[in-house]
Amino acid sequence: MSFVLHIMVIFEQSLSWEGRNQMAKLMAKLKVVPERLEGSQHLPEVKKNYGVLKNYINGEWVDAEASKLEDVENPATGEIIAQVPLSTARETAKAIEAAQEAWLEWRETPPVTRVRYFFKLRDLMEKHFENISRVQVQEHGKAIDEARGETRRAIENVEVATGVTSLMMGYTLEDGAAAGIDEEAIRSPLGVFASISPFNFPAMIPFWFWPYAVACGNTYIVKPSKQVPLTQEYIFELIHQAGFPPGVISLVNGSHEVADALMDHPLVKGISFVGSTAVAHYVYRKCAENRKRVQAQGGAKNSLVVMPDCVLNRTVANMLSSFYGCTGQRCLAGANLVAVGDIYQELKEKFVEGAKRIKVGYGLDETVNMGPVISGDAKKKIERYIATGVKEGAKLILDGRNIKVDGYPKGHFIGPTVFDNVTPDMTIAKEEIFGPVVSIIRVKNLDEAIDLIHSSPFGNAASIYTQSGPAAREFRYRVQCGNIGINIGIVAAMAYFPFAGSKDSFFGDLHGQGEDAINFFTDRKVVITRWF
């Protein structure tokens, strides 16, 4: 609902009888200029069409050699908004060689000088904050607030990376080896690194890695998802304006051919990957075979455990954002709603009531809570999961299929969906759906809830909603997940904390962001010194 009411109506309610007469006289003289903000109206798009995208290699925008192009679709409108080249291994190698060449000089650039480029970039990103966010909405479909939040996260990683002069410091111990023999450890950059990113966070995910790598003195190649290449294309123009030396940071668009070329090339020292568990495992194996550093983040099936003593209204509001934020396409999204004991009935009713009120539409409409899923294929896959849930005996109490969004007949929309009577053995309770589908599972107590979490091969995140300190402490202590939420449903580590999951949600040891990133992108060289 949007509304425009006449000032007369509103003012009349606030005025005395005499005042109303005066106001009526005043209004008679007024020129009426109606302006309506309809539900379907939205913020302006940055561009209608972005044309054929280029690669950014060695400090220049270059046409891809590739003859193969793929369409980039706006998932809300169904419009084709760009074409992305599927770059070849050969041009990927060119980017790697340029990065290696640039590294020789960049490595010798003092850290304090290196971070000045990041200060410039940070200012440019703040200036272009709204456009970066709107491009994300156009290509990904998420709601504008979510996109703004994502842009903020990307900037925060730049901000943390500017602390590299402190973060990268080594350590020294006088007489560390023996009397008169000192020992020190120096952190040194390694060379060329690269990231392979998924579709769900077009702006943020490359920023978990590359600012730290480059600030530490490495050079870097970003390969965005071919489904959402526009945000990085936009940001790379800002990187160009920030004046980073040629080859220090490059962008290569494409698909698995680019990814394989990055993983196979001997000059690439390490890979950061985010995506599905199957591909993460492949990346981990391949990088290990090729003697590279690797951090490979995979899938998830996150449980949100609700204890009987939770603050129910606040819990439900927070869970709605976890389950339905980014249309359930977050690796940190809630998937299973685990009701402990007698909270079940009231929790279910309130949650479904809230879910029904989620406004679905084009994310550039600021009143929209939830956008479409990324593609027609993703929509079909989610619908197949819903059908499987029904077939396996779960009770579909809110069905988001067949939702119609006015003005967007070609959008890939699925409404909030809720299954009740889900048991842990069902497919929808076990597999990552990556959509706005919630499975309510009843358990007797906290032990059973933790057992349920541990029965999953994934270990990305888990949350508990409770007012009990001991219950929260036990949950935090026992649950084997990389990210634990206590009365928080989206456990997204800030830039100065490490981020990754456990078990099949992550292959590697050093996580993204923060100090872990500094360790991933540097070598520790030990120097032992004695003077005769």
Binding site: I10, L30, V33, E130, A143, E146, L320, T367
Partner: protein
């Protein structure tokens, strides 16, 4: 002077800020336009300036204070309680102008006060900003009373 406004429904943090920006737009336009009509009233351009700065503060808040971890849907604020829609007007007397301005300040004060209470559970930093803005609206009402007298 032509005042226009379009208030969205309040369902998200972004729409809450958009709503607030609309309130500021109406107030800025009213004071700006009136200051030309009544150049001897020194408070009018100052009030226009204040509301213009508040718009900047709101945009800054939207950009800097947002945390996607706690972007919960908003169901508890009914925009009808605070909306204004002065679809083009030119108050013919200072007294009428003051009356209109008082209503705008009053509705804004209530909007920011209620939003502040709501935002406390979502975005504590925004809550403090809204609280301060509500107080400013109350202060403005006092200034308007001085002009009227």
């Amino acid at each position: 002077m032509v005042l226009k406004s379009s208030f969205p429904e309040i369902t998200t943090f972004g729409s809450l800020i958009r709503f607030a920006l609309e309130l500021e737009k109406v107030a800025t336009s009213l004071y700006e336009g009136s200051s030309k009509t009544y150049p001897n009233v020194a408070a009018l351009p100052l009030l226009a300036d204040l509301h213009r700065k508040r718009s900047q503060l709101l945009e800054h808040t939207r950009q800097q204070k947002l945390n996607e971890m706690i972007l919960e849907p908003i169901y508890d604020l009914n925009g009808n309680d605070y909306a204004l829609s002065p679809n083009g007007h030119s108050p013919s007397a200072l007294k009428e102008l003051i009356k209109m301005a008082e209503i705008i300040e009053d509705k804004s004060a209530r909007f920011y006060s209620d939003s502040s209470r709501l935002a406390k559970s979502l975005l504590a930093e925004s809550s403090r900003i809204f609280q301060k803005m509500s107080k400013e609206n109350d202060d403005n009402k006092s200034k308007l009373k001085t002009i009227a007298s």
